[in-house]
Symmetry: C2
Subunit: 185 residues, 2 copies
C-alpha cells in the first residue's frame, strides 16, 4: 500500500471518530479538518470532494459497526432473551455512538440521497445479525420474528436518543409480558 493510501486511511479513521462523536451536522470540511489536526486543503488533496470523503467515512463506520456486531454475537437465543440482550447492548457506550449516527442517517436519507445507500446497508447488517442470533422453534418463524425484534429494538434506539430511559425499561417489560403469556390476545 502506498504511503498516501495509508495517510488516507488514517484521515478516514480520524474522521469516522469525529462523526461518531459529533454527528453529521457540524461536519464542514473546516470543522472536520480542525478536529483531526489538518486543513480543509489537505482533505481535498486526499479526497476528490466532500461527498467522496463522507461516503468513504460512512462506509468505514458501517464496516466498524459490522465487526462490533460480530463481536457481540453469542449463542442463538430465544425471542425473549434476545430482546433483553439487545436492549442492554443498545445502551452500551461502545454501541450508542453508532446507533445515534445510524438514526441520523435514516432521518437524513429521506432528503439526502448520499446517505440512503449506507443507511440501507447498515439496516441489512442489523437484520441479518438478528436473523442469525435468533433461535426459533419453527424455521418459518425466523424472519418475521427477526423483523419484529429489529423494529422493537430500533424503537428503543429512538427512545434512547430522546433520553426516555424509563420508557425503554417499561417497554422491555411490556415485551416480556406480551411474549410470555397470552396477555395481549
Amino acid at each position: 500500500m502506498h504511503k498516501s493510501e495509508i495517510k488516507r486511511q488514517q484521515l478516514l479513521d480520524a474522521i469516522a471518530d469525529y462523526l461518531l462523536v459529533n454527528g453529521l451536522q457540524d461536519s464542514s470540511l473546516r470543522h472536520l479538518a480542525a478536529a483531526i489536526g489538518t486543513s480543509d486543503r489537505m482533505l481535498l488533496h486526499y479526497f476528490v470532494n466532500k461527498e467522496e470523503l463522507m461516503t468513504a467515512s460512512l462506509n468505514l463506520i458501517a464496516a466498524r459497526m459490522l465487526s462490533l456486531l460480530e463481536s457481540a454475537r453469542a449463542q442463538p437465543m430465544r425471542l425473549q432473551t434476545l430482546l433483553a440482550y439487545l436492549t442492554e447492548i443498545v445502551k452500551e457506550p461502545r454501541f450508542r455512538p453508532y446507533l445515534r449516527l445510524w438514526l441520523e442517517l435514516v432521518a437524513l436519507s429521506t432528503s439526502m440521497d448520499v446517505y440512503r445507500l449506507i443507511a440501507r446497508q447498515i439496516c441489512n447488517s442489523f437484520y441479518n445479525w438478528i436473523t442469525l442470533a435468533l433461535e426459533v422453534g419453527q424455521e418459518e418463524d425466523r424472519e418475521p420474528l427477526a423483523a419484529f425484534i429489529f423494529a422493537t429494538v430500533e424503537g428503543f434506539v429512538l427512545l434512547d436518543a430522546l433520553e426516555c430511559g424509563a420508557l425503554i425499561t417499561s417497554g422491555l417489560q411490556g415485551a416480556m409480558r406480551s411474549t410470555t403469556s397470552s396477555a395481549g390476545v
Copy 2:
C-alpha cells in the same frame, strides 16, 4: 385578533406545510420564503429570528399532529389489534409526513437543542395516545405494554423511512406470532 396576528398564523401554516413536505434540511429563510410566496425580509418582520420561526412552526406541527392522532382514536383495542391498527396508520399518507418529520426531529435533537423539547413533547403525545387506546386485562400491564407498542411502532416508522416495506410486513407478522402463542419462550 389583530390583523398582523392573522398574517403570522397564515405564514406559520404555510411554513408548517412546507416543512412537512421538505423536511428540516432545506429550510433556509430564503427557501421558506420563496416556497410560501413571500420574502425572508417579511419572515423576519413577523418573527424575531429564525429560531422563533422554527419553534413556532414545529409547535404548530405538533398541535396538528395531536389532533390527527385524536381523529384516529377508536375504541380501546387489545395489544395485537392495536399493533396492526397502528401499523396501517403509520403508512397512511396523512400521517407519514408527520412521522418523517418527527424522526428527523429525534435525530437532530441530540445535536441541536432547539428540537429536543418539541421531539419530547410529540413523544409524550404518542405514548399517551397509545396508553389510552390500549385495552388491557390487568391495569398494571397498561404502561409497559403501551411503551412496548410505542417502541415497535417507532421501529416501523424508521423502517418505513428506509422504504423497507417488506420488513414492516414481516415484522408485524412476527409481532402477531410472538403475542398469540408462546412462540418466543
